[in-house]
C-alpha cells in the first residue's frame, strides 16, 4: 500500500457486478481476484451476480474436462475476508432454472428493480 492510501480513511461502497459464466472467458476469475485484493482495503464491499454470472455460484462445478481450475470454492472463503454481502438477481436465477439451494454460498435474492436501488446507493460500481 502506498502512503497516499494509508492516510486516507475514506470508506466507499464498492459493488462488483459479475455478469459472465465462470468458464469460457476469464472475467469471473479475474473479477474474483479484484475482490480478494479489495478486501485488504477495508472498503464496504458488495458482490452482485446477474445474467450468466449466477452460474459462478453454482454447486457441483467440475472443470476436469476443460483443464482449468475450479475456483468456485473461493466464494465460500469470502466470508473469511469479511465479504458477506452477496446479492443474486431473482430474474437471472429463474431464467436459468436455479434456486438458492443450487448455490455454494448463502445469498440475498433481489429483484431487478431492487438491484436498481442497490446500485443507486453505491459509490463505485465495477462490472465484469
Amino acid at each position: 500500500m502506498t502512503d497516499e492510501m494509508m492516510e486516507e480513511g475514506t470508506v466507499k461502497k464498492f459493488l462488483y457486478v459479475n455478469r459472465k459464466a465462470p468458464y469460457g472467458t476469464i472475467y469471473a476469475l479475474e473479477s474474483l481476484e479484484v475482490v480478494l485484493i479489495a478486501a485488504a482495503f477495508e472498503q464496504d464491499v458488495s458482490l452482485l451476480f446477474v445474467d450468466d454470472g449466477v452460474f459462478q455460484l453454482k454447486k457441483g462445478q467440475d472443470t476436469k474436462g476443460i483443464e482449468q481450475k475450479n475456483f468456485s470454492p473461493t466464494y465460500r472463503a469470502l466470508e473469511g475476508y469479511d465479504i458477506e454481502k452477496l446479492y443474486v438477481e431473482k430474474e437471472s436465477m429463474e431464467a436459468r432454472g436455479l434456486t438458492e439451494d443450487d448455490l455454494v454460498v448463502p445469498v440475498e435474492v433481489l429483484t431487478r428493480e431492487q438491484i436498481g436501488e442497490l446500485m443507486d446507493g453505491m459509490d463505485v460500481v465495477l462490472s465484469f
Binding site: 486516507e8 466507499k12 464498492f14 472475467y27 479475474e30 485488504a40 482495503f41 472498503q43 463505485v124 462490472s127
Partner: protein, 130 residues
C-alpha cells in the same frame, strides 16, 4: 471532476479501448482531471509497444503513450493480468527469465490495489468493457 478509467478489453478486437481513450481526451479538454487509467483483463494488451497496426489505422498504444506524456496521466497495467498475457517491463522480464520486454512508454506495471485506490480517490470510476 476527478475521473479514473478501467479498460477491460484489448485494442482493435473491441471498441472499449477507443471509447476509453476518447472519453479521457474529452474529459481533459473539458478541464477535468484523470487520476489514473487502469488496464485489466485483455485491456493489458493496450500496453505493448510491439503493436504495429497498418499506417492508415490508429495506433491505440501510441495514442495512450502520447496522452500520458501530454497530460502526465498514470497508466497502470495489472501485473497478474499482464504476466498471463505476455506484457512485461524490464524488471518483470528479468524476474520471469524472459528474453525481452514490451511495455510501452508511459505505462507502468503494478497491482490491483491501484485499481481499488483509484476507486477510492476519484469522484467517478468509469468502466469500459464488454
Amino acid at each position: 471532476m476527478k475521473f479514473s478509467i478501467l479498460v477491460n478489453e484489448g485494442p482493435y478486437t473491441h471498441q472499449a479501448s477507443d471509447s476509453a481513450y476518447l472519453f479521457a481526451k474529452a474529459a481533459l479538454e473539458k478541464g477535468h482531471e484523470i487520476f489514473r487509467v487502469f488496464f485489466y483483463h485483455d485491456g493489458v494488451n493496450n500496453a505493448t509497444r510491439f503493436t504495429a497496426p497498418p499506417q492508415d489505422d490508429r495506433n491505440v498504444t501510441a495514442r495512450w503513450s502520447q496522452l500520458a506524456a501530454d497530460h502526465n496521466i498514470d497508466l497502470v497495467v495489472c501485473v497478474a493480468a499482464a504476466l498471463r498475457r505476455g506484457i512485461l517491463d524490464e524488471s518483470e522480464a528479468k524476474r520471469q527469465g524472459k528474453d525481452g520486454n514490451n511495455l510501452a512508454p508511459g505505462f507502468r506495471i503494478s497491482g490491483l490495489g491501484q485499481l481499488i485506490e483509484a476507486g477510492i480517490q476519484s469522484d467517478r470510476l468509469v468502466v469500459f468493457g464488454d
